[in-house]
Amino acid sequence: MILTEHLTKRFGGLTAVHDLNLDIPQGQCFAFLGPNGAGKTTTIKLLAGLLKPTSGRALVGGHDIQKDPVAARKLIGFVPDMPFLYDKLDPVEFMLFIGQLYGMRRGEVEPAIDELFDVFDLNETRKQIIENLSHGTRQRLVIASALLHEPKVIIIDEPMVGLDPRSARVVKNVLKQRSRAGVTVFLSTHILSIAEELADRIGILNRGKLIATGTIDQLREMSGEVGALEDAFLALTPEEEEEGATREAP
């Protein structure tokens, strides 16, 4: 469902993403791990079509995000690290607007909004202006709006930022349910417990290079560590850069 082929992005002299090759099938929850500045957000922006790759390509649902962006974006529910909301709308107005932008009819949007508001506990804020909502409520609203059009692919950057434990649990449950229902989830995080809990497969990015992919057990095996994912992660992402090919599980 998500395919990248030799995806590379350079910012001036810095290579933020280097020769990234990924193949994420339908229904898989893929977590992208990496230290700060590893290139996670850049990769997500490349997948969402916000940035043009220096070389290589990214395909979502078989559509090249550069050549056929509209078709690819129809399939994507995108939650960036710094989401945008219209301050002067209320949550219902915002959701109706988003639904219509994705070509949904009003009769389809309203029941979907009710359902998502129940799930994300947003009913009490229905008539409040967005600028008056708390940080966590806004984040829940952003995630709900990304799921409104029943996307086939969810791309989400640091999903738990600003969420309280209850809301974080709700988001994790929703992502798991959607993944089981056949939706591909691509999430980027540096919180290892989230990846441990949600991901079917994990990719570790360091200094723009994908240094390992596989399940948690496979990553442990590659790193030679038997403990928590944290140990495997630290073993695989040394402070000094090491040259070498991606370690991929068979």
């Binding site: 001036g12 916000l50 960036p80 710094m82 989401p83 002067k88 932008l101 994705y102 008056n132």
Partner: protein
């Protein structure tokens, strides 16, 4: 999704938000709403009165009313056109390439071309409405002079639509090329360069008329001179020419000629938009992506596509180090404040407009200087100049100094938690802004006084006044800024929290501006009084009765000390107990 549906949905949402913003005015302070309303009505009434007076005076020149009136329209719209292009470039860069909304829109299932078109419309609206608002009194006065019907104003409004579309398209093309082919840091310098070239061209090409030319014997020659100098504005290739010609024709009742120029304007506007669309199809997405993919600016990469290592100059550090006994923490704060200001593009664009207007003001003084016929007029003009410089200073401090404390915003704890203390942070902001404002206003005052040929003792008096006023107005701005800070709603998705324009538009900003104006009025009033009484007895040009000047200066000093100290001491008390 079709472009029409996309635009309709966005228009509906923006209309809903605009309605909500208007309704929210009820919750804002009456002071702010009253001040804004008063300014709007005042501008329209005074503007209409001045233009009407000017047109009536022109009508007194036998046989030349139509020629002069028409030429004035051509000149006005030519300048308006240039200003619109510049305004579209400044606003368009932020709206199209820096706005978080553009980034969000580019993740929607719509064509990037449609995103660009929407942003172009937004830019054109934002860049043009103020000019239309400002030119309305002139239009009304022109219509009244021509004794036109209400239908004329409707047609003029329709004429303005294609007229504003052309600079919008030109501005967008310039921005697209800059974003696609230049590093984003170059934009600031490009803007600065364009502004400097514009002012230099104005200085070279706009020549003041000699006062004696307005005497009846030279009148014909002077008129010929005026017509010759302004002939560039009547080139049939200019959109301003089509607009003015159409207006003049409709004003005189020649419907066919008016419609012809309207069609010329409309067809050219459509062509400009078409070219802009073609260019945007090739450059917008590439430019946007490139604009958000640039690492650290390197001159070599920007120009030669390879890095060049230049020695680090550190001008700012050297300048601050010239003050040897400066506390290291104060030094760090000064460097931080100057650096943040320099790198904030939202501050820069408004700073550029601000200084562009000051430049035009100074250039215009050349012609005023020539018209001294009596010392009373000279005295009047020199005090008007002091008033204009003081108002400039009040605007400068309200717009750029008042938001400084609020701009610390969520970072306030960084400076608040260090042993240095917020009190000294506030004092550092006061001294830094006072010194910078005094430097700018002093330069303006000395230049304008020199151009106006004001006597040296009066220049000295005014220079001292603006320096004192700089400290007082900065005291008002920094003090009220800390007493009424605006830190935004503090949520991650609110992209406006750091916007200085938004901070200024709140209650605190309005209050600061009103207090600054009251202070300016009191100081100028105190200075005018002895000069006026002196002039009434023995004329201007000498200090006259020393006790009057002494009393006036004592009064000015007392008012200024109170204006600086009261808000600053209240603010210092406030920050002492501020919960970070």
């Amino acid at each position: 999704m079709s472009a029409v549906t996309f635009f309709r949905l966005l228009a509906e949402v923006n209309a809903r938000m605009a309605r909500r913003q208007v309704l929210a005015l009820r919750e804002k302070s009456y002071l702010m709403v009253s001040v804004v309303t008063l300014f709007v009505i005042g501008y329209w009434v005074v503007g209409y009165w001045i233009f009407r007076l000017g047109f009536t005076r022109l009508a007194e020149v036998p046989g030349l009313q139509a020629i002069l009136l028409d030429r004035m329209l051509y000149l006005f719209f030519a300048f308006l056109f240039v200003m619109l292009v510049f305004s579209n470039i400044i606003i368009g860069y932020s709206t199209i390439f820096k706005s978080p909304e553009t980034q969000w829109m580019l993740t929607l299932p719509v064509r990037s071309l449609d995103v660009f078109r929407w942003k172009l419309m937004e830019t054109a609206l934002l860049a043009s409405w103020a000019f239309l608002f400002l030119s309305a009194p002139l239009m009304l006065a022109y219509g009244a002079t021509r004794q036109v019907t209400g239908w004329f104003y409707m047609k003029v409004f329709v004429l303005f639509l294609p007229f504003t579309a052309i600079p919008a398209a030109l501005g967008a093309i310039v921005i697209l090329v800059i974003a696609r082919y230049l590093h984003r840091r170059v934009f600031k310098w490009a803007l600065f360069g364009i502004g400097a070239v514009g002012i230099a061209c104005a200085a070279v090409f706009i020549k003041p008329m000699e006062a004696e030319n307005f005497e009846p014997p030279q009148m014909v020659a002077a008129l010929q001179h005026l017509m010759q100098n302004s002939r560039v504005t009547v080139q049939p290739i200019l959109p301003s020419y089509w607009l003015a010609s159409s207006m003049i024709a409709w004003g005189e009742g020649w419907s066919g000629r008016g419609a012809f120029f309207f069609m010329v304007l409309l067809s050219n506007a459509m062509m400009a938009l078409l070219v802009c669309t073609v260019v945007s199809r090739r450059l917008f997405y590439d430019g946007w992506s490139r604009n958000h993919s640039q690492g650290r600016f390197e001159l070599g990469v920007a120009l030669l596509d390879k890095p060049i290592t230049l020695p680090r100059v550190g001008v700012l550090e050297h300048l601050v180090n010239l003050w040897p006994r400066l506390n290291p923490a104060t030094r760090a704060l000064v460097i931080k404040d100057v650096r943040v200001f320099w790198r904030d593009t939202s501050q820069w664009s408004q700073f550029a407009i601000f200084f562009g207007l000051i430049g035009l003001y100074v250039l215009n003084l050349r012609s005023v200087a020539q018209e001294y016929k009596s010392e009373s007029w000279g005295c009047f003009v020199s005090f008007l100049n002091l008033g204009a410089s003081s108002m400039t200073l009040a605007t400068l401090t309200t717009r750029f100094v008042f938001p400084q404390f609020s701009l610390e915003g969520r970072r306030l704890w960084i400076v608040g938690m260090v042993p240095y203390g917020l009190k000294r942070v506030l004092l550092e902001k006061f001294w830094l802004s006072s010194v910078c404002s005094a430097g700018i206003t002093l330069a303006l005052m000395l230049t304008s006084s020199w151009m106006l040929q004001v006597s040296s003792w009066q220049t000295l008096l005014f220079a001292a006044t603006v320096v004192v006023m700089s400290f007082a107005l900065c005291g008002i701005a920094v003090g009220i800024g800390a007493l009424f800070p605006y830190f935004g709603s503090g949520a991650i998705v609110n992209c406006h929290d750091d916007n200085p324009a938004r901070i200024v538009s709140g209650f605190g900003g309005t209050f600061c501006f009103v207090m600054s104006l009251v202070y300016v009025a009191l100081v100028i009033g105190a200075e005018v009084w002895p000069m006026y009484s002196k002039f009434a007895s023995s004329g201007v040009g000498s200090p006259g009765q020393p006790w009057g000047v002494l009393l006036s200066w004592t009064l000015v000093s007392l008012i200024s000390v109170a204006a600086a100290c009261i808000p600053m001491s209240l603010a210092l008390k406030r920050v002492d107990s501020l919960e970070i």
